[in-house]
Structure formats: C-alpha cells, structure tokens
C-alpha cells in the first residue's frame, strides 16, 4: 500500500499530485501529517510542499477548467478530510486524463462528488455571513468568534472587507485557532494570545467591551423576541435554518 503524507495545505495537495505523476505511483491512501501514525503499514512517501510544483498543476488545471471549476476544487479542500483529499486527487487525474473539459458532466461520480462537497463548504461560508456577531470592544475593534465545521475563513474575508470597510474587525475561528484581522487597510491572518480572551470558549471579558455594547445586545434581543409571531410557533423550521451548532455565539437566542 502506498501512503502519501502531506502538510494539509492546498499547495501541499497539488504538490502531491505532481509527485505522484513524477514518481508514477498512485497513492492508496492520503494522510495529513497531523493524523500520521508511524504504525501505518505500507510504503510511505512524504510530500514536501513546493510552490513551483503546485503552480504547475494549478496552471494545468486552469487550462482544462473554467475559473469556477478550479475554485470548486479549492473549496472542496477546505472541507479538511482525508476522504476529500482522495476525491480531489482522483478528480484531478480524471481531469487531466480527458481531452475535453469534463467539469459539468454530472453523470460522473467524481465530478458530482466535488460539486457536492464544494457546495457544502460554500453553504457553510454563507451561514457564517449570516451568523457572525460582532461585539464592540473598548478599543473600537469589532470582534466575532466562530467555530464552523469547515475551514471557511478564507472564503468570507472579502465580504466583510467590502462591507465593514471603515471599522476594525476580527473574526476568529476558535476551532482552528486563527483569525482574520482588518486594520482599515488590509485583512491579515492572526492568532490571539491575550489574557482577556478565552481561546477555549471564544469569549472576551466584559470589562474590555465598549460601554454601549451590552445595550445594543439587549436591544437586539428585544427586537428578536418582539418580531416573532407567537401563534405561529414553528421550531422545526427555525432549527432547519439555524441549526443548534451555529447558535453558540448568537447573542439573540437563549442558550438551552
């Protein structure tokens, strides 16, 4: 059994594709280095991420696919599973093996698999556009923790950059322990190590919130409750649109 181990970056996965062609060896298993166990039985190949190799694969793909077709592969990778890695690997070989562009041949299991996975990731990114809740801190930074199932942060920065362009903000993924910080000029990746911030719960201490923060949170709760039509209670539907796993940081809903 051939096991390819890589560093879980998209660049790394593209390098893996390159190496596989180069070595003429097809992996039976793709393993992310964080999950690697030495006891795994088989021939092991360690992939060293290489921007030049990755770039050649990416360029090759962009000749074969539409822009959207390439983005689908990228988004599918953000789902962060080894099954997804294998699916993407197979699909890239599938793409290179055909003369014409196959990205819309939805009869093909690989094409459909990538499409569905990419859609799941996009949908979760959309959910984050809905459910990010900023709290204003005393030093005028708007802060929101998130904990999405997939690594969607790379997909949502632009939206907030365009929209909230005159306020500093941070969106922090507490599962993956990194965030985006917009400093009124550009968005950059950060990690936070601060005594007022709990990396575990995503909470910041109330003492560092701006004076009017609680007031607007309360007004928002008030609004949320007043706009509801009590006689038409439909919790099932509410749950469908706003699953429990996304409610953790929503100011307006009571924590059960």
């Amino acid at each position: 059994m051939n096991i390819f181990i890589y560093d879980k970056t998209f660049e790394g996965l593209l390098t893996l594709v390159f190496d596989s062609y180069d070595l003429k060896i097809i992996p039976d298993k793709i393993v992310r280095n964080e999950n690697f166990q030495a006891s795994l039985f088989g021939e092991k190949y360690e992939v060293i991420s290489d921007i030049n190799k990755a770039d050649r694969v990416w360029k090759g793909l962009s000749v074969k696919l539409s822009e959207e077709g390439c983005q689908k592969l990228y988004r599918a990778h953000l789902s962060e599973s080894e099954e997804a890695d294998m699916l993407i690997f197979k699909q890239i070989r599938n793409i290179f093996s055909k003369r014409h562009n196959i990205e819309r041949d939805y009869r093909d299991e690989l094409v459909l698999g990538i499409k569905n996975l990419s859609r799941k990731v996009s949908r979760e990114a959309c959910r984050m556009l809905e459910f990010v809740r900023f709290q204003k801190t005393a030093d005028n930074i708007y802060f929101s923790p998130i904990s999405p199932g997939y690594n969607v942060l790379p997909l949502i920065g632009k939206h907030f950059r365009n929209r909230l362009n005159d306020q500093q903000w941070v969106i922090y993924d507490i599962k993956r322990k990194y965030g985006l910080f917009y400093d009124l000029k550009e968005v950059s990746e950060i990690t936070i190590d601060n005594k007022y911030f709990s990396a575990l719960s995503g909470k910041i201490e109330e003492t560092v919130l701006s004076d009017d923060e609680k007031q607007f949170q309360n007004l928002w709760k008030e609004y949320f409750n007043s706009i509801n039509i009590k006689e038409r209670k439909n919790l099932r539907q509410q749950l469908h649109f706003m699953p429990k796993k996304y409610r953790k940081f929503l100011t307006e809903v009571d924590k059960f």
Partner: protein, 422 residues
C-alpha cells in the same frame, strides 16, 4: 446611550410591524465607494430566524403606530386601545447603524401608521433614509413603505435614498378594500405605484447614459396582499399578481395569511386559524410565474379557479395536462424539464449541462437531486420507465397522496424553502 424608553418603543414598534411579511433584502447591488460603509448583496442575507421560522434580514419597524385611519384588518387601527409609541429620527438611525456594524442586519425596513396625514408621515420616513445615507454614509439596504396618498414630490425624494419602496394593496379588489378600509381607495395605492414605475424606468435609461447618475429605487417596488380577510378566489389573486409583475413591473408580491385580529369587527370573517397552507400555495404559484415560466392562466382559470390545498400547483398542472407528458429529459427543452414535478431549477440546469456529454439514466437523475418518487410518472430517459406506462392522472394523484406522503404538511414555509425539493 439610550434610555429604557427606547427599548420599550422598540418592543412596541417591532411588534406592530411583525405581520408585514416582506423582510427580503434582495435585488440591490449598492456598493460603498470607500467614502462610507456597508453595501447590499443582490441575493440578500438572512441573519437570524425567529421561533416562527421566519427570516430576519432587516430591522423591520414602524416609525409610529399611531394612525388616523381605521382599517378593519389592522391591529394599529385608531379604534383599538393599544400601547402607542413614536420613534425619533435619530433613534432609528442609531439603532440601524449599530445593528449593522455588528452584523445583525442587512439594513432597515421602515413603515408607519399614518400620523397627521400621508405627506407628513412620508416625510418622516424619508428623513430617516436621508440621514442614514448622507450623514452616516450608510450604503446598506433601505426599504421604505410608500404611504398611500403621499404626494409625488416626497416619493421622488424617498426614491433617491431607498433601495426599495412598497405600496401595500392589502385587499385584492376595490369594493372589498372600501368595505374594510373606508379611508383608502385603489387610486391612492395605484397612483404612487405608477409614479414610481415611471421614475424607475426613466432612471434606468438615465443610468445607461450617465453611469454616475444617482439611482432611484434600484431594488424596485413590492407590495403585499392579505389572504383570507375577503372572499376573493385564487384566480383573482394570481391574476392580480401577474398583472402587477407585467404592467407595474413589481419585483415581488407578498401574500400574508390573515391573522384573526379585531374579532369584534363583524365585517371580518371569523377564522380560528390563519389560512397558512393557502398562503404557501400562493407563494408556490408565484414562483411558478417568476422562475418556472408559467402563465397565470396555466395555474388557475375558469375551470380551475382555486389552487388545490393537498398538492402543489406544479403537480396539479401536470395532472391536469397529462397529455404533455412524459417529458424526455435527454431531449426536451429546459422549459419543459422545469415543468416536471420533482425537478427544480437546480436539477433542471444540471440535467441540461450533463446531457451534452451523453444520455442520462435514472441513477444519474437521482444523484443529481431529482425526486424520482414524483418525477417517475412524468419522464422518460435512457432507460425504460414503467412509471409512465398506461397511467392516468387520478391513479398518479392517489399514488402520490398515499403514505408515505409526498406532500409534506406545511406550516409556515419561507420563500427560501419553497420548491427546493419539489
């Protein structure tokens, strides 16, 4: 910092706006040019969902729930003894901006009872929009109610700041409107609608010539009809909606199942429950017209004046026109594929893309997301289909209504969920 009074006002004036169904923030593409903040996204975004399952996209409030009128179906009518309140302009501005900056909302939807007279009220609403745009440099979504009877000058100004304006028709026919809302008439509703329509068309032309020309109601107009407060049938309602889309160029018609309020008023029907299933069927019919290229007459007509409650209008159409089926998914036009029960817009598009590479079979269709349980009676594909052999509409309907029920018992469905799987 606000006083507690503002929080009480918010309670009253959000509560008073809750029966207005429109909360959509779609249709506008306003971009800040770096000199302000906020934008709007054409598809709209929901930010939360209330316990009744409805989407919160906008801060939906009344400026005031005082009203000089006495419409029978309205909780805020002047003869009701309820708590009343009126916002100040800067209170609404501040709440909107602060909610927006925290990503609670896409913008503001502001309506009002009629204070003093229509013009006075419309001016107040316009002032809020103006302050948001000019003083706060807010580029988010603004939807203002156009108060029936307001003059063209004020509407024109409102249209420069708002993304969407809506005049609510409420009651589908004029005699019934007069009966329930003696202070209103169709002229006061249709005259601003017509004025805005002309303005929107002229503005589109202008913006083709001058790209920097200020936009006028870029997300267009919408309206709302109350369902079940008066005896109009579905044919009257669907035809009215169709005419509003075609002639008045409306972007959306909303349907609001009448909630039994003011039961002391004997002009109103005595309902124990809102006609929510009917409301949902009307939304589905509306979708058929807007996204599935159906005409009003195909959905309801003299022989079939009311939508069936137990099955959706697309299935109902297919059963009444069974001679147009089965549809060959490997050959038929996109439009015809859309007419197959069990195939939605998304799957229809995937089918048309995929079949260029080769013929589709049942397994392909299933994987693509077609609901075969329904579709099998109406299609042929690369395989033999036993579903369509010698079958008649009565048998299909009975099969589809047998357990397990293909038509879910619906509660309140929002527009988003409609047809997602139908």
């Amino acid at each position: 910092m606000f006083s507690n009074e503002v929080s009480d006002k918010l309670k009253i004036l959000a509560g008073a706006a809750k029966y207005d169904v429109s909360c959509s923030s779609s249709g506008s593409n306003r971009q800040n040019n770096g000199s302000g903040f906020g934008n709007s996204i054409a598809a709209g975004i929901c930010h939360s969902f209330t316990e009744d399952g409805r989407c919160i996209s906008l801060l939906k409030i009344l400026f005031s729930n005082y009203c000089i009128y006495d419409c029978a179906y309205c909780i805020n009518r002047k003869s009701n003894d309820i708590k009343r309140a009126t916002f100040k302009v800067d209170e609404i501005v501040s709440i909107t901006v602060n909610f927006y900056r925290r990503n609670y909302i896409e913008g503001l939807f502001l309506s009002s009872g009629v204070i003093k007279n229509p013009d006075y009220t419309m001016e107040l609403l316009t002032r809020v929009a103006k302050e948001l745009r000019i003083k706060e440099k807010f580029f988010g979504y603004i939807h203002l109610k156009a108060i029936p009877g307001a003059s063209n000058d004020i509407l024109k100004e409102a249209g420069l700041y708002a993304d969407r304006l809506s005049v609510n028709i409420e009651i589908p026919t004029e005699p019934n409107l007069k009966l329930l809302a003696p202070d209103k008439n169709f002229h006061d509703v249709y005259s601003p609608m017509g004025f805005l329509k002309e303005g929107i068309i002229a503005n589109k032309e202008e913006r083709k010539l001058f790209r920097n020309a200020q936009s006028f109601v870029p997300a267009g107009q919408s309206t709302q009809l109350i369902i079940g407060a008066t005896p109009e049938n579905d044919m009257q309602i669907v035809n009215l909606a169709s005419a509003l889309y075609k002639d008045q160029k409306l972007k959306r018609v909303y349907y609001s199942a009448f909630s039994p309020v003011n039961d002391y008023d004997k002009r109103l029907p005595s309902l124990t429950q809102s006609p929510l299933v009917r409301e949902n069927r009307l939304y589905q019919a509306d979708w058929l017209m807007r996204f599935y290229k159906f005409t009003a007459d195909e959905i309801v007509n003299k022989n079939h004046p009311d939508l069936e409650l137990e099955i959706d209008p697309k299935l109902s159409y297919a059963l009444r026109n069974i001679c147009q089926y089965p549809v060959d998914v490997n050959k038929a036009d996109y439009e015809m594929i859309l007419r197959v029960p069990g195939i939605g817009v998304r799957s229809a598009k995937l089918i048309v893309s995929a079949r260029r590479y080769g013929k589709l079979n049942f397994n392909n269709l299933k994987k693509i997301g077609v609901v075969l349980k329904r579709a099998k009676y109406f299609i042929t594909c690369a395989e033999m289909n036993e579903g369509v052999i010698n079958i008649n509409p009565v048998i299909i309907k009975n099969k589809l209504l047998e357990a397990p029920k293909p038509v879910k018992k619906v509660g309140v469905l929002t527009q988003l969920e409609l047809f997602s799987k139908a």
